[in-house]
Symmetry: C2
DNA sequence: TTATCATATGAATAACTGTTCATATATTAT
DNA sequence: ATAATATATGAACAGTTATTCATATGATAA
């Protein structure tokens, strides 16, 4: 592989890209965030929580699957800062962490041209 | 596990969530989209392409790593509809597929409060 | 305190994914 | 044609991740 000589613009874009590249640490955090969104089972939970907060039992109702799997998925989402929790007696109530979550989902759906 | 009786709102939210849940197929497509964004190596390519289109050689320059790995990453991004290509002589020139891509990255960064 | 309900967790297995190495294809130049 | 350049691809291995099963924790009720 040798230098691509015939397009100076690419070379400038590459240099600029290198200068503006976020740090490894930042790129890693963004990637971790998207990784949490990359499983159908977890996305279903987020779609379910659009309508408002729910306890684990009802999340299981809404998305199907078994309790343990859903609990593991919730932990992943929580660790990624995508959902948050509060305790209400015996129940743990989950909700979307902030408005960015819905916004990202809607953007992705717009990109794919699927109505949700 | 038994029914969560003490919160009727959760039950309504669960029923509503089930009604409004996108199809398996749609959820799968959204998940695939995010999966493509979930690797640091691929995200770096997208950050690099913010400044404009580039051929593979310069993408390798900009993000580091070896040619084969970058090519595989590009294929994944292309298959997910996140970048697109055109041929220019010996080179294949890559660019972001549409404005949604930048928008999603910026939203994620806003969510994480990191400036990019 | 004991029993029950709601949720979380650890370990194990199975499935998936990324990277590397070697090589193939396609384009241009000689 | 032949060589060189630019990019892509298949196979194999290594690392990661999701699910399941069994069990643990924490909260309430009896």
């Amino acid at each position: 592989m040798a230098v691509c000589n015939h397009n100076e613009e690419h070379a400038r874009a590459a240099e600029q890209a290198k200068r503006n590249m976020p740090s490894e640490e930042e790129v890693g955090r963004v990637a971790a965030c998207f990784k949490a969104l990359s499983e159908p089972a977890r996305l279903k939970i987020l779609f379910a929580l659009r309508g408002g907060e729910m306890c684990v039992y009802h999340i299981v109702e809404a998305v199907g699957g078994n309790q343990s799997a859903v609990s593991h998925q919730l932990r992943t989402l929580r660790a990624a800062g995508i959902v948050r929790t509060r305790r209400d007696g015996q129940n743990i109530v989950y909700s979307l962490a902030d408005a960015h979550v819905i916004a990202v989902l809607e953007l992705a759906c717009a990109h794919l041209q699927c109505k949700i």
